[in-house]
Amino acid sequence: MTQELFRLEDLGFAHDPARPVLAGLEFSLSAGERVAVLGDNGAGKTTLLHLMVGLLRPQAGRVLAFGAERRREADFHDVRARAGLLFQDPDDQLFCPTVAEDVAFGPLNLGAGRAEAQDAVAEALEQVGLPGFGERVTHKLSGGEKRLVTLAAVLAMRPEVLLLDEPSNALDRAARERLIDILAGLPQAMVIVSHDDDLVERLATRRVVLRGGRIEE
């Protein structure tokens, strides 16, 4: 049997108790899988990703990640290093003045030294096909470049899982193609939330639908 990375058991979550977003949700992710999560706007797809890395806490059920149950903020510290979440809006993620600083932020937080962080930055930018972008100013990048830089920032932490929240959102055709090619070449297990049929077609090994607060295969 392949290694199980995430298991969500009987998960329940509501911003407003009268209208629960998720209820009795079951989900698991194994190494090597690329699972596409489909569903209508407001079905709770982003909420699901945020629950997996502890940005939100469930009101019911259990989150198991990398073989251990995760409850408190401290439990999630290493989950966030091992499962990289890519935000829907790159502008929410980029906050350092230059690309290299932004990409180095994660490795530095994980305790990397200056040289190590430098290596991680170079390697991650190479992986997304933006070598030499280190000195660029983040807010002057194009939409496609911002997306790739945020992906590099996540890859620089060398995660085992990628959680992608509508990665191809608002990208033009060329940038989208490039992103799909890059993602297809990565070894990580992925959870992909997307409305982009072509992207799902080319990347996903399994599809699930989030409907009525539950996962349907």
């Binding site: 510290h77 600083e101 994980l110």
Partner: protein, 255 residues
């Protein structure tokens, strides 16, 4: 391989001026010392001397003259009320009368010294601190022994001022796209009210998302401190000359 840009590791300034090559800590200490001396300087001569030292620092930092003057002007306008009223409110020897109000020589001197001190400190801060990357400033403060919490708080404040500003820009753009033009009237005032309200709501939400993105990348309440090199001969030399000129400023005040 992509090198980490220099300003991740070192402070920045236009064209690597002398000030830009200094250790960030030297700059922070020099600015603090300057502020103390400028406020302590006795008499208008000493205060003008401090202003001279500040102008010298601006030259050393090779700041663009236009920007410096524009910021200085903004400060003087801000203080205009104080500068105009002081001569008439401080009692003393009559200098001249204007429509029944008497301006005193003491008040005039007081106004001049307020302007001189404020301008001097402003210029020095511009030369020594404003040209520095905020992250470098935070690191310098932390390495000088300022509690990490305070240094982080300062960095966050600077960061979120930028968030507010960006959000304001976005909303203004949205307003202009729908042909909003400020006039005097309820429509304009109400629109501005909404703008401010929306600005706060959006900024809080946006900062929450940024905070989430930072936590995801392992942020636990403080920025990692890189080893930013150490103070060298240049720093000691600059420190010595700086201290000497400030001592001279104090000496002028005691004459």
């Amino acid at each position: 391989m992509t090198p980490v840009p220099a300003h991740l590791l070192a402070p920045q300034g236009p064209a690597r001026s002398l000030v830009a090559r200094l250790d960030p800590r030297t700059r922070v200490l020099a600015a603090a010392l300057f502020a103390v001396v400028a406020v302590a300087a006795q008499g208008i001569m000493a205060q003008l001397a401090a202003l001279g030292v500040a102008a010298g620092l601006c030259l050393l930092a090779r700041l663009p003259m236009r920007t410096v003057l524009r910021r200085l002007l903004a400060l003087e306008v801000f203080m205009a009320l104080v500068l105009v009223t002081l001569p008439f409110t401080v009692p003393g020897q009559t200098l001249f009368t204007l429509g029944g109000l008497t301006a005193s020589a003491e008040g005039m001197e007081r106004a001049l010294s307020v302007a001189a001190i404020a301008s001097a400190v402003m210029l020095a801060v511009q030369a020594l601190l404003a040209s520095m990357e905020t992250v470098a400033l935070g690191h310098a403060l932390a390495r000088l022994g300022v509690p990490a919490r305070l240094a982080t708080l300062m960095l966050f404040t600077l960061r979120y001022v930028e968030v507010l500003h960006q959000e304001y820009g976005r909303l203004r753009l949205a307003m202009r796209a729908r042909a909003f033009r400020p006039r005097t009237g309820w429509h304009t005032w109400r629109a501005y009210g909404w703008l401010v309200g929306m600005l706060l709501v959006n900024s809080v939400e946006r900062s929450e998302r940024i905070h989430a993105a930072m936590r995801l990348r392992g942020f636990r309440g403080h920025y990692p401190i890189l080893d930013l090199g150490r103070a060298g001969g240049l720093d000691w030399g600059f420190g010595a000359v700086h201290t000497a000129s400030l001592a001279l400023v104090l000496a002028v005040g005691m004459m």
